[in-house]
């Protein structure tokens, strides 16, 4: 199975709809940095390069979405205790406060030799250093039925916050009581390891209040729950007994959208009322198309001192697109930390000063097991000069002892603060 995945990852998918750029770009003096993608890593890098260069480095951020919509907390929108407005942040403070030029467009191509980014709207952006932070895209080639017309409009992944988040919420609200919500989880690594299990809790809480005869079926390709396992299992037993059923080693191989049927590598077919298929993931299309995904043609290998690509000079890759270091999760918090480490390195490289030889940063990840109780996992990561990678610090990090309401307050404060640190 692993080998089949490996072979199939080579397929390159085309970009989605195109939006034209209206901004005029250029002018000014000083070194130029272009950032592709305004998520947790890209937006943070753009902001901190401006801050730490005393606005001497010009930064252009290319982002097709009008607003930043946060994946963290988006499961609460699916469960119904938060709204899309709660997880949406505008990009305008990056411009107003920090002078980042934000261009609303898609990237067509990267010419790393000429150091030019070509946008779908026709604009060409030259750069001294490029930051590629497109997040993940899905390996749709592993699920033939999902490539049929309209399939992606009917079966949600909701693994990029936005229209899909809202659509999945609407599907759950429209589902009759007594129905089954079936969610498939891909083999790790994927974006946000505990996210699917949190989502199961959120949907189960909604069912327990609004549709008590309904069920949540978790179909996990992995051997076991990939993050916070004991804490999630306790929540499923204590709070959602008879609602949530967890099945491991269920690797989905196809989806029949018309009959809402899931097909698996080894297990019998399953039908459900609402399907939520979270497909296998890889680095974003832009990174793949630019030849940056050197690890199994799936993830982008980087130098962890600078986040410079191992495949292209003057090109840095951040966030969920990278080949992670040992113990490093694909999380929004970690992406924010990538952004700052890269920002410091880019400023140093463009001003001829020393790059920090000892990055140290941390990960904090909260999961809501209900709308008002939370569990966390935390870790500290430090550069290992011999291994040339980030390693978790022995004896540091850990989990919540049990789900608790105090950490639900901290979790929302974390969200507000990290959105501001990245975007305001």
């Amino acid at each position: 199975m692993q080998r089949r995945h490996f072979l199939q990852t080579g397929t390159v998918l085309g970009a989605a709809g195109l939006v034209s750029a209206c901004a005029t770009v250029g002018g000014g003096s000083g070194p130029k940095v272009v950032v592709i993608g305004g998520g947790f890593s890209g937006a943070t890098a753009a902001k901190y390069i401006r801050m730490w260069s005393d606005k001497k480095i010009q930064v252009t951020l290319v982002e097709p979405n009008d607003y930043f919509m946060s994946c963290p907390i988006s499961n609460l929108v699916i469960g119904g205790s938060k709204t899309m407005a709660d997880i949406t942040t505008p990009y305008d403070n990056l411009t107003k406060r920090h002078g980042v030029q934000v261009v609303k467009d898609y990237v067509n191509s990267i010419d790393a030799d000429k150091r030019v980014v070509k946008l779908a709207g026709g604009t060409e952006l030259s750069y001294d250093r490029l930051i590629v932070s497109p997040g993940v895209d899905f390996m749709w080639e592993t699920l033939p039925g999902m490539n049929k017309p309209d399939a992606k409009e009917q079966v949600m992944h909701a693994w990029k916050a936005g229209a899909q988040t809202l659509r999945l919420r609407q599907q759950l609200m429209a589902m009759p009581d007594g129905g089954v919500f079936a969610m498939t989880i891909p083999l790790a690594p994927y974006r946000c390891p505990p996210g699917p299990y949190e989502r199961a809790c959120q949907v189960a809480e909604y069912f327990s209040k609004a549709k008590p005869k309904s069920k949540v079926l978790i179909l996990d390709a992995n051997e076991d729950v990939t993050s916070k396992g004991a804490l999630f299992k306790k929540a499923w037993t204590d709070r959602y007994k008879g609602i949530i059923e967890y099945r491991n080693k269920h690797n989905v191989t196809d989806v029949d959208v018309a009959t809402k049927t899931l097909k698996f590598e080894f297990n019998d077919d399953l039908k459900a009322s609402v399907l939520n298929v979270i497909p296998a993931m890889r680095a974003g299309d832009i990174a793949l198309n630019a030849g940056l995904a050197t690890a199994n043609k799936r993830w982008c290998e980087v130098d962890f001192l600078t986040f410079e690509s191992k495949a292209a000079k003057n090109v840095h890759v951040l966030g969920d697109s990278i080949q992670i270091a040992p113990g490093m999760p694909k999380s929004g918090h970690m992406a924010n930390q990538h952004g700052k480490t890269c920002a410091a390195a880019v400023v140093a490289l463009l001003t001829g000063s020393q790059v920090n030889n000892m990055p140290i940063y941390n990960n904090t990840c909260y999961s809501f097991v209900s709308s008002d109780e939370v569990v966390h996992v935390a870790s500290v990561h430090r550069y290992d000069a011999e291994k040339k990678t980030m390693m978790t610090v022995p004896g540091s990090g850990g989990l919540s002892q049990a789900a608790n309401a105090l950490e639900a307050v901290y979790a929302m404060a974390w969200a507000q603060n990290i959105w501001a640190d990245s975007l305001a």
């Binding site: 901190y48 700052k340 920090n356 935390a378 500290v380 430090r382 990090g397 507000q416 640190d421």
Partner: protein, 101 residues
């Protein structure tokens, strides 16, 4: 350099990480930025998290060392504090103490 000298040099190096940390303010700024995801850019937090900007350096160091030793209860800061050396904590606290509130 003989063994005795090497050991002496190593001991000195072990005793002076603070001097090293203080020698590179840009490095300390990067370390401090790892706190700002929760505690706000340059330590100026939004409500719900503790602001570190302009706080008393010695008090911050004591709080972190108490988290590290377990004498101060916490939900997760005791787990993060254990990932930083005392010298790094002192340097980071110095950075935040120097920021505008």
């Amino acid at each position: 350099m003989n063994l005795k000298h090497t050991l002496a040099a190593l001991t000195l190096a072990a005793l002076s990480p603070l001097a090293q940390a203080q020698a590179d303010p840009v490095q300390v700024r990067s370390w401090a930025a790892s706190c700002s995801g929760c505690h706000g850019t340059e330590g100026r937090a939004l409500p719900g998290m503790v602001s570190l900007a302009g706080a008393d350096k010695d008090a911050m160091v004591k709080t972190m060392l108490d988290f590290k030793s377990g004498t101060r209860p916490a939900t997760l800061m005791h787990q993060l504090a254990k990932g930083y050396s005392d010298a790094e904590i002192t340097a980071i606290a110095g950075y935040f103490a120097a920021q505008k509130k």
